[in-house]
Symmetry: C2
Subunit: 389 residues, 2 copies
């Protein structure tokens, strides 16, 4: 049966509280701790590159995710860039990334002087499809002296960046097998999946490194911010060094031993992050409660399904999503118009990477599932407060 | 006459207030407005990529510098990187930068895939020496179809990045003549010179673009932050677009038309910046008063001179500096030891760029003045509060 926009709007409104202002897609929430820590930071004058909140925020992230080390940086894009560099991605390489992702995933590859090579998504997880990747590599790549080479372009394929779309864990264990077979470094783009686990282990901890984002629309925010998590202490030290201009420790002298980056998270932003981390467990519970309500509300609505967490995983439901049936995909534009016009913030998924002018000529595999998903996905309001009982 | 460390320490202590804790090189100062604006930002929930403080901070910077447009970004390094890209610096180019500068100047060139080509400094300004640059180019470069080419490396030399060292304006008008002669784009690294003018015009406004920094140790701080200023509206729009992921405006859709950057300044940091801008005029007056006291205190101290603003310019005296005479250069290490040990924060100038391992093989001109300055310069405490009457 075809979807009906009135029915979808009605179902949304059974879940969402009455509101006299538009309901955003994802809005941050702050309280007494956020105000207190930020003021403490200002009163101490340590608002910048050193300070206790950066250390504490990194410790809180490590503890929450279970990673041995977390390195806070200025945003999720910076986290991806430096992680790819540390993973060994070099100029002229290709890096496998999903076509269905936020622009940062592909841009970070570009910053390394490498080219993104686009891979299809799985309808079950919305993340990169490891089996389709394996099949695709079998067709176009071969191993030469232990390195995966694209036979068509001649480039080395050095890494793969799975992304946990909307917070839903992708099939990371299967991806690790495929990556091992083709000797690909794995950097997990966990920008959207703070609090999401796969078989009980936090996303971002399966690859050599995982990256997080604390942009204003994320589950927790530091204004702008990101982090790299890793279980490898040596990688952690390298990440910290490269993100702090590769400066060698000294009381006053300025020596640097590599082309590093000014990717520090300021202490002011980390102060906000520490307060937000204290609320993370509550936010996650509220977000899952909201998802459960959406799931129930859309159970009987024809032509559309609510996107639920994949098997073996627990999602943070960062952005809740509806998926229109194929034969209702034409309703996506009017659905976006109608919902936004009636004060319910919605948006489609990102334009697929290979449709953007600067990435149109990059190598890619068959992307039919991503194409289909992009025609049919719509994100719906997902702020924690909407799930508060 | 040789310098004497005891006399230098004594002169410093006549200027500096008694203190029971170490006096830092440059410490930020915050008050009621900083607290109020940051709390307002948190209470509004607009802490991230949009918000009124970013717009207001950009307007305040434009008004203060007289530039038509200021674009706030996450730090001074990001400002330099995007400015160089917008100036047309391309992969394989060489970019002329002083050997005596902070690492960001050279790193930003590297991020563009270009190589820094190191130029000597002037003893009068501590900045790039335009005449020596012109002579050096005459020896190694020639114009080919309107482009400056290095005859030795074959690379195009596309830009020059003068830096206003410690806030002292370099000889920018002479530099502009040399740049015009060799068809070089000029991006001014004004990271240190907010409030410094050359012939009444703010530094950073002479080149196509100028970059500022608001790191914790700068004249004003946003925690971490920077900006690009320009008088060219089209460049300003391009800078804003590229620093905000090159996203095309749309109520909900995600389209991007270039490989952009996530270089936004978060609204939280801009809130701090707005409050700091309100104090900038006072900070500058206090810093200049402090410089005047140092100048007087060191007038009769042998073997060392206080570094004063160059002719035709007004300096913010971001970091005050002493310059040991050549025959007292050997006293620099014990002077640093003694001052820091006695609670007076001092440091030498940065390690010259061509002495760092990653830049050791880059092209360079004769650097004898920079070498001499680096052996003899020492920065001394420069916080505004030290100049308060």
């Amino acid at each position: 049966m075809r979807a009906d926009i009135d029915q979808i709007l009605k179902a949304l409104k059974t879940v969402l509280p009455p509101s006299d202002r538009p309901i955003g897609l994802h809005e941050p929430e702050f309280g007494a701790a956020e105000r207190a820590y930020v003021l403490d930071c200002i009163d101490s004058t340590f608002v910048s590159s050193v300070g206790k909140y950066v250390d504490r925020f990194e410790e809180m992230l490590a503890e929450f995710t279970g990673a041995r080390r977390a390195v806070a940086v200025c945003n999720g894009t910076a986290a991806l860039h430096v992680a790819l560099e540390v993973a060994g991605v070099a100029r002229g390489d290709e890096v496998l990334v999903p076509a269905l992702t936020f622009i940062a995933t592909a841009n970070a590859v570009s910053y390394c002087g490498a080219r993104p090579h686009f891979v299809d998504s799985s309808g079950a997880t919305l993340g990169l499809d490891p089996d389709k990747l394996d099949d695709g590599l079998a067709r176009i790549a071969r191993m030469v002296n232990g390195a995966c080479r694209n036979r068509e372009t001649g480039a080395r394929i050095s890494a793969v960046v799975p992304m946990h779309t909307f917070g839903h864990p992708m099939a990371i264990d299967r991806l690790l097998s495929v990556a091992a077979k083709w000797n690909l470094a794995v950097v997990e783009d966990a920008a959207e999946s703070l609090g999401s686990t796969y078989r009980g282990k936090h996303t971002g901890r399966f690859g050599a490194m995982g990256t997080l984002s604390f942009n204003g629309n994320k589950t927790i925010t530091t204004g702008g911010g990101g982090a790299v998590v890793t279980d490898d202490e040596a990688l952690g030290r390298r990440l910290k060094h490269l993100t702090t201009t590769a400066k060698m420790p000294h009381a006053w002298a300025f020596g640097h031993d590599a082309v590093g980056y000014n990717y520090r998270m300021p202490n002011l932003n980390a102060a906000l992050g520490c307060a937000q981390m204290e609320r993370l467990a509550a936010f996650l519970a509220e977000k899952r409660a909201l998802a459960a309500r959406y799931r129930a509300a859309f159970a009987e609505v024809p032509g559309v399904r609510f996107v639920s967490e994949p098997a073996d995983s627990q999602s943070n439901y960062w952005l809740n999503a509806l998926l229109l049936d194929e034969d209702s995909a034409d309703l996506l534009p009017p659905l976006l118009e109608r919902t936004n016009a009636s004060g319910v913030g919605t948006r489609p998924v990102w334009t697929l990477m290979h449709h953007l002018p600067m990435y149109a000529a990059c190598p890619r595999m068959d992307l039919s599932v991503a194409e289909s998903l992009a025609r049919r996905l719509v994100n719906i309001p997902s702020s924690p407060i909407l799930g508060r009982s």
